[in-house]
């Protein structure tokens, strides 16, 4: 979670994301827009990391606020050639083995799929968010937010394999002061089949 603003009668909101058949969905990014507007991002941590380890990105999904710097350390003994052609950020990075100082600034909100030009099976996503209430679900499909202002909130749930336009669904919730628990059911596509490595 990115921030905990604490207005007087704030809500503590827990969200559970599950598939239609009830299985928990991890790595779903839940973003709350109190009153339909982004909650101002706090001044604070603005540097994140996506590691390359065992010929895979880690983590698979990283949530970062707009304006963040993401480092791409390479812990493998082989080179990686990381790139994205997303609308939110286009970049390419040449990472020599064990080189740890390459960073990229993410200055527009949106989803940024990552690939490696050398290893086709490497895949990860950066979700660049413009609201302070934004975080991803854990292995149990749960995420929680403290200090959410009461009233109507627009909630967006994004997942790389979510079966919806832009891989995102939008909901409207109304919170009072105190605790609130919401459950979201989403339809996921099966992950893309592994490419044959010719």
């Amino acid at each position: 979670m990115l921030a905990c603003a604490s207005p007087a009668f704030a809500a503590e909101v827990s969200v559970e994301v599950r598939t239609q058949s009830g299985a928990p969905v991890r790595d779903a990014v839940v973003s709350l827009y109190p009153g339909g507007r982004p909650a101002p991002l706090p001044a604070g941590r603005r540097s994140y990391e996506i590691a390359q380890r065992n010929i895979q990105f880690s983590p698979f999904v990283q949530v970062v606020p707009v304006g963040s710097i993401v480092a791409f350390p390479n812990f493998d003994a082989v080179r990686h050639h990381v790139y994205s052609f997303s609308a939110a950020k286009r970049f390419e990075l040449k990472l020599y083995a064990k080189e740890q100082n390459r960073t990229v600034l993410f200055d527009r909100p949106g989803a940024v799929p990552l690939g490696c030009n050398i290893h086709d099976n490497m895949s990860a996503f950066i979700k660049v968010t413009d609201t302070a209430f934004s975080a991803k679900t854990d292995a149990n499909g749960r995420v929680s937010f403290a200090g959410v202002p009461p009233g109507m909130t627009v909630a967006r749930v994004w997942h790389p394999y979510l079966r919806a336009p832009g891989n995102e669904v939008e909901l409207r919730w109304t919170f009072g002061a105190g605790r609130a628990a919401e459950q979201v059911r989403v339809a996921l596509r099966p992950p893309p089949p592994r490419a044959a490595a010719y």
């Binding site: 099966p190 992950p191 089949p193």
Partner: protein
């Protein structure tokens, strides 16, 4: 009956080695090198394997009277070197030792790959050298290993043993569509084994310099016309062949492929060593569907023809039409992957030396379990039954129908 005095101790050795191998410290090779090795035990009934000069359709064969015989197959392995020359250019060189090959160690693949950074949504990759065309949906990795099974389908067994080219291939991908085109040489004999032996199911791969044995030929062909073994990587007529492929992913979990191959070999070309040009053409359709997160379906269907020799007024000497299809379902359950596959295959002969009476029909059913002991060690067990009828066997006084069962267990190590 289980014979082979080393079989049972070997099985115990396999069981003892498996956990030890899984616990072994992180193995390491110099950067750019990797290796795949297998300890295997194989048992089969029925006729001796085609690799021993018979009509047996599997890699293992039965005992002298066709009874079940279990045999250790100690070491098989491949060493892979993938050097990088800059960010876009790399090489893949694979040398392997496989039991049943002419040379103890032989070159298997050697090609360069050029893959520049994608231009937006469009990406290009180029390969050049000795390589398999991208037909098989079952094989993976630089060592071209069958994923989660031991024996590939009949269709891809043939690709592995005879369809390897020396060529240059370019693939352009954009969005969900990709197109591949290639020109090649050094595959003029493709079809020899398929026409003379028929289909087979095995994981023996063609090598750069090794011959593959043919079954007994008729008196005319054996009498100084066709060599008793075929060399897959040979150029006889200096006529390049070509292949092309279209792949489309209509949905994230569905991949469709269409492939066409024509080696454009001159069927009258012959080398002093009696290797002939075989004009081989085929089309292959493939589909891969991720049915659920842990369930996937693979299927391919192939049909084509191969022709060799002269037409002396009764049709060309050998003209074989061939077809094969399989469907394979795989289910992951934790560290285990269970797979089942059904193969259908057949040939229709209409040559003057190999007429309709030599044709073949058959099917095979294969079940396999693969258990991942560690990221580097996989234990595989596989059972296979193949039932076929091949007219050419009558010439040798054999029953045209042949049924074989094979059991294999393997410890697959990759570093």
């Amino acid at each position: 009956m289980v014979s082979g005095m080393f079989a049972r101790p070997f099985l115990w050795l396999l069981m003892l080695l498996a956990p030890a191998a899984a616990r072994a410290a992180e193995p390491a090779l110099p950067a750019g090198f990797s290796a795949v090795g297998e300890l295997r035990i194989a048992g089969a009934d029925g006729e001796p394997s085609w690799t021993d000069g018979g009509f047996g359709k599997l890699r293992a064969g039965g005992g002298a009277d066709g009874d079940f015989r279990l045999k250790p197959r100690l070491t098989e392995g491949e060493l892979i070197w993938q050097p990088r020359f800059g960010w876009a250019l790399s090489g893949t060189i694979v040398a392997g030792a496989q039991r049943g090959q002419e040379h103890a160690v032989d070159l298997i693949e050697a090609f360069a790959t050029w893959k520049p950074m994608p231009l937006g949504d469009t990406r290009l990759s180029v390969r050049a050298g000795l390589m398999w065309p991208p037909v098989s949906l079952e094989h993976q990795g630089a060592a071209w290993t069958v994923a989660d099974m031991i024996t590939p389908s009949a269709a891809n067994s043939w690709i592995g043993e005879e369809v390897k080219v020396m060529g240059a291939e370019a693939t352009v991908s954009r969005g969900t569509v990709s197109a591949t085109a290639a020109i090649f040489g050094f595959n003029d004999t493709a079809g020899t084994l398929l026409a003379f032996r028929g289909w087979a199911l095995h994981d023996l791969k063609a090598t750069a310099f090794g011959h593959q044995r043919l079954p007994p030929l008729n008196a005319f062909l054996a009498g100084g016309v066709q060599a008793p073994a075929t060399l897959p990587s040979v150029e006889l007529d200096d006529r390049p062949g070509f292949y092309g492929k279209l792949a489309w992913r209509p949905a994230p979990a569905v991949a469709l492929e269409a492939f066409y191959y024509d080696n454009r070999a001159n069927p009258e070309a012959v080398s002093p060593a009696l290797q002939w040009g075989w004009r081989t053409r085929f089309v292959d359709l493939g589909v891969r569907v991720q049915l659920a997160e842990h369930t996937r379906l693979l299927a391919q269907a192939m049909t084509g023809s191969t022709r060799m020799g002269y037409d002396e007024g009764y049709g060309i000497w050998v003209h074989t039409r061939f077809r094969a299809a399989y469907a394979r379902l795989s289910q992951d359950a934790g560290r285990t992957t269970l797979s089942g596959r059904i193969d259908l295959f057949g040939t229709t002969d209409r040559g003057s030396e190999t007429g309709p009476q030599e044709s073949e029909e058959g099917w095979a059913a294969t079940g396999a379990a693969a258990y991942r002991l560690s990221p580097h060690v996989q234990l595989l067990v596989e059972a296979l039954r193949v039932d076929s009828r091949r007219g050419a066997r009558l010439r040798l006084g054999l029953d045209p129908r042949q049924v074989q069962n094979q059991f294999q267990a393997a410890l697959r190590l990759s570093i």
